[in-house]
């Protein structure tokens, strides 16, 4: 039966996430934006709270770690499911409504955990599960073109008892890279063999071969640290390679890329949360200014601000439902690569557009630091960039619709 409402069983989770967003995120938003690179101590307390919630089950999966395959549930599934992908999405929307910068630096909830969840084996899940993991993909010369990465991983079996991979290269834009416990590093086993040779490797943050070069100063999400690393003869146990060590030209890269089918709806969800914050605050300010929004009236039969508000809200609704669709498909084991990219493309551009229009609608109040609108408008832009830019999403969507390979549509 067609139903696009938020499932009842997640109402409690959403309510708890909303409380965290209000009490902890919102009240620290401005401070953490101003004090870039100072660790928000409040998050340690939050981490304890979240852990408590996880034990209670209510916020389980409110971070990125919950997406992908539900581990342990092997029984055959019949009928419609609303599972961990939907739960994670709903939690992230609420937390991002609070503050997306703080969400991104929430202990143990990084996107790296999604990569681990997607490809790790049982033994690795045991070692790495529950830890704070960051993702290191981008390099100075390889951004959207992640198949072009140069960081190498060489197997060293000189000590048969302790075979190791030796990583060398440079990684930039590692979200939560300084604060995380683990860094999932993308590196190539053989640069001659192209994308099939690209694998992901888990590196402990305190590995001496992982050298922090600097922390970025950014337009927004300043509460979240963005680290640049140099990997210099960084030695890790052979068992830290995630997935299969075989170079399979047929599907190798696709395996790593699969992670994105699960994480893109989450980033879309962040955009939806930030945009909702903008819309709600703008509506309050417009209402105080005497603007009435009547959903029944045609666009031209009400004041322009009300009409513009409904237009923004309609694109927001489309973004939100596209994202719910992608998460729902993941929960129901339907291939969702197309829908995940559609959601990310629509939500990323829509949220940026909404945030900037809300600033403009609210005038100097929207532009000034007395409100959070200007901060949200800075924060939101990253969501149309990371986890695949707008243009990368459109490429993915277009290739699928037109039946083209990446060589045929560049």
């Amino acid at each position: 039966m067609i139903n696009l409402e938020t499932p009842r069983k997640f109402e409690f989770l959403v309510g708890q996430a909303h409380q965290v967003a209000t009490e902890i995120f919102r009240s620290n938003s401005r401070k953490c934006d101003s004090d870039e690179h100072s660790y928000p101590k409040e998050l340690d307390m939050l981490a304890a709270v979240i852990d408590g919630m996880n034990e209670g089950g209510a916020l389980s999966g409110a971070g990125a770690g919950g997406v992908g395959e539900d581990s342990g549930s092997k029984k055959a599934r019949v009928g419609n499911r609303n599972g961990s992908n939907m739960a994670s999405l709903l939690g992230l929307i609420e937390l991002s409504w609070g503050d997306v910068g703080l969400l991104l630096t929430m202990p143990r909830q990084g996107l790296g955990q999604a990569a681990i969840a997607a490809v790790a084996n049982e033994e690795q899940l045991g070692r790495f599960g529950g830890k704070w993991a960051a993702m290191a993909i981008t390099e100075p010369e390889a951004g959207s073109d992640s198949a072009a990465i140069r960081t190498t991983a060489a197997l060293d079996e000189s000590d048969p008892a302790h075979p190791e991979y030796v990583l060398n290269g440079e990684k930039i834009f590692v979200t939560a890279g300084d604060r995380a416990e683990l860094i999932v590093v993308w590196a190539t086993l053989d640069r001659q063999q192209g994308r099939a040779a690209i694998k992901s490797f888990v590196v402990e943050r305190d590995n001496p071969g992982l050298i922090l070069e600097r922390l970025e100063h950014k337009l927004g999400i300043r509460a979240s640290d963005t680290a640049d690393f140099r990997l210099e003869n960084c030695r890790i146990p052979k068992e830290n390679l995630l997935g299969s060590p075989e170079i399979e030209p047929k599907r190798g890269f696709a395996g790593v890329m699969q992670t994105f089918d699960n994480t893109r709806p989450l980033v879309a969800g962040m955009a939806i949360g930030v945009a909702r914050a903008c819309l709600e605050r703008t509506r309050e300010l417009l209402t105080e200014a005497g603007v009435e929004i009547d959903y029944d009236l045609p666009p031209h039969a009400q004041v322009a601000a009300a009409s513009e508000f409904i237009a923004m809200e309609s694109d927001w609704e489309a973004s939100r439902l596209l994202t719910m669709q992608a998460a729902w498909m993941a929960d129901n084991k339907k291939p969702n690569s197309l829908q995940a990219s559609m959601a990310k493309a629509k939500a990323g551009r829509t949220a940026t557009d909404i945030a900037l229009r809300c600033v403009a609608l609210c005038g100097s109040i929207g532009y000034g630091e007395g409100e959070l609108l200007e901060k949200w408008a800075r924060d939101v832009k990253i969501l149309d960039l990371f986890e695949g830019t707008q243009q990368i999403q459109l490429l993915i969507v277009a290739r699928q619709l037109l039946g083209k390979t990446s060589a045929e549509l560049k």
């Binding site: 309609s314 596209l322 560049k410």
Partner: protein, 449 residues
């Protein structure tokens, strides 16, 4: 509950029958007919105003003690995008029908400003007017579902929006009677809509002026001692020249000192043929196959039984909202037609030595059509599912409406753009879809989901 069960009169075709037809190869059966035998009819192309013709006599053959009303399905617990089996079957059958029969007839119907009788007859065989009517009133469904109607309208519009509107216009009236009519009104009019010979009919809201607002009507219905007197002009009425029954929105002005009430928009049942009601053709930019026309009311006398239901503002608000959802469904179906048409075109069309789809400017346009179309669809389904669940839906309808109006029009424009100059000619259907899609932001009423 109704005392009488109209289904006992053996008139129901409807969904259950449709299921049987579909499994027996509905399209094969329709495909056997010779398309050349189509007979065009509809509004005359002449621009003269003519008096409306009286249609059949509507009379209650059986009496209901109280009106039959839709039971609400209640709130569903899980997010779900899968239509139920009956909806899937209906959607597939109607889409097959639309692509096999409507699409090939679309251009001629557009030029003729009329839909062939044969197509209208086939559409009636599909039971379109019965999907919004409960079984106890002789209709096809145990529970009326806005989602089902949306799916059906969307599928039909994939063939052609104008013909889809012509086919669905009577269904708007039967659904309106089913939703808001009192027991007498249901007993009087509904049996004809669930029979073999469904009358042409239209639900009429739009008035010809800029900034039209369906809640501020210039068509006035003044209450008199024994009924109402109607004055005003209505615009873009589908099948205006043929219709045997109208439901017309007008500002109700109560002059009853015993029951003083502010004037308010309300719906009235109007049988054509009396004095003071004229019709004139009003061909437009698009949806021309629906033979749109104007209705001119000049002192038209209506009986006191003409006021539909309780005449409350809630009724007309719901009518407007459900109509907008119908237009969303038509825009989605047409948008899907655009997407399905441009994909093979841009893959096959060569420029600068390669398929134009190899260029991002072209490929991204196609991607954005698909993204916006899916957003329109999901927003519309959500609003419709809220209708079925008895949840408030004014906001959700409004958001779907805005998307389908603006993003839908952009899809129509991109469809022409992707074909370049070829898209501007009648060699391709994209120019018609461009014209049709503008209707989704202009029209009110004419459909009820």
């Amino acid at each position: 509950m109704a005392e009488q069960n109209f289904t006992e009169r053996g008139m129901a075709v409807g969904l259950r029958a449709l299921n049987r037809l579909a499994s027996n190869g509905l399209i094969d059966r329709f495909g056997l007919r010779d398309p050349a035998q189509r007979v065009l009819h509809g509004a005359s192309k002449a621009t003269v105003r003519t008096a409306t013709r009286a249609g059949r006599t509507f009379a209650a053959t059986q009496k209901l003690s109280k009106p039959a009303r839709q039971p609400r399905a209640g709130r569903s617990n899980l997010f779900d995008l899968t239509p139920d089996e009956e909806q899937q079957l209906l959607r597939e059958s109607v889409r097959d029908f639309a692509l096999a029969k409507l699409r090939p007839a679309a251009q001629a119907a557009d030029e003729a400003c009329a839909t062939p009788d044969e197509l209208l007859g086939q559409a009636n065989e599909l039971g379109l007017t019965m999907v919004g009517v409960l079984e106890e009133l002789g209709g096809a469904v145990a529970e009326r579902s806005a989602v089902t109607t949306v799916l059906m309208a969307e599928a039909l519009a994939q063939g052609d929006m104008g013909i889809a509107l012509a086919c669905l216009a009577p269904a708007a009236v039967s659904t309106a009677l089913s939703l808001w009519g009192d027991a007498d009104q249901q007993a009087t009019y509904l049996p004809e809509f669930v029979g073999d010979n469904v009358p042409a009919a239209a639900l009429v809201i739009v008035e010809p002026r800029p900034l039209f607002n369906p809640f501020e009507l210039q068509t006035k219905a003044r209450r008199t001692g024994d009924g109402f007197v109607l004055d005003g002009v209505k615009s873009l009425v589908p099948r205006a020249g043929d219709a045997e029954l109208f439901i017309v929105a007008a500002e109700l002005i109560d002059n009853d000192p015993a029951h003083p009430a502010p004037s308010r928009p309300a719906l009235f049942i109007v049988e054509p043929g009396g004095t003071g009601l004229a019709v004139e053709p009003e061909p437009a930019m698009g949806i021309r196959a629906a033979a749109t026309g104007r209705l001119v009311f000049e002192g038209t006398k209506l009986p006191s039984t003409a006021l539909l239901g309780d005449g409350s503002r809630e009724t007309i608000a719901e009518c407007v909202q459900l109509g907008r959802l119908g237009w969303c469904a038509l825009a989605i179906g047409t948008g899907q037609a655009v997407l399905d048409y441009v994909i093979p075109y841009v893959n096959e069309r060569k420029a600068f030595g390669e398929a134009i789809s190899s260029r991002q400017a072209v490929a991204f346009t196609v991607a954005n059509i698909a993204i916006e179309l899916d957003g329109m669809r999901l927003a519309t389904y959500r609003a419709a599912s809220r209708v079925d669940q008895g949840a408030p839906f004014a906001r959700e309808v409004s958001l779907a409406r805005r998307l389908c109006s603006e993003r839908g029009m952009a899809i129509g424009s991109d469809g022409v753009q992707l074909l370049g100059g070829h898209g501007y000619t009648k060699e391709h259907p994209v120019e018609r879809w461009y014209r049709d899609l503008r209707a989704a932001g202009v029209m009110e009423g004419a459909l009820v989901v």
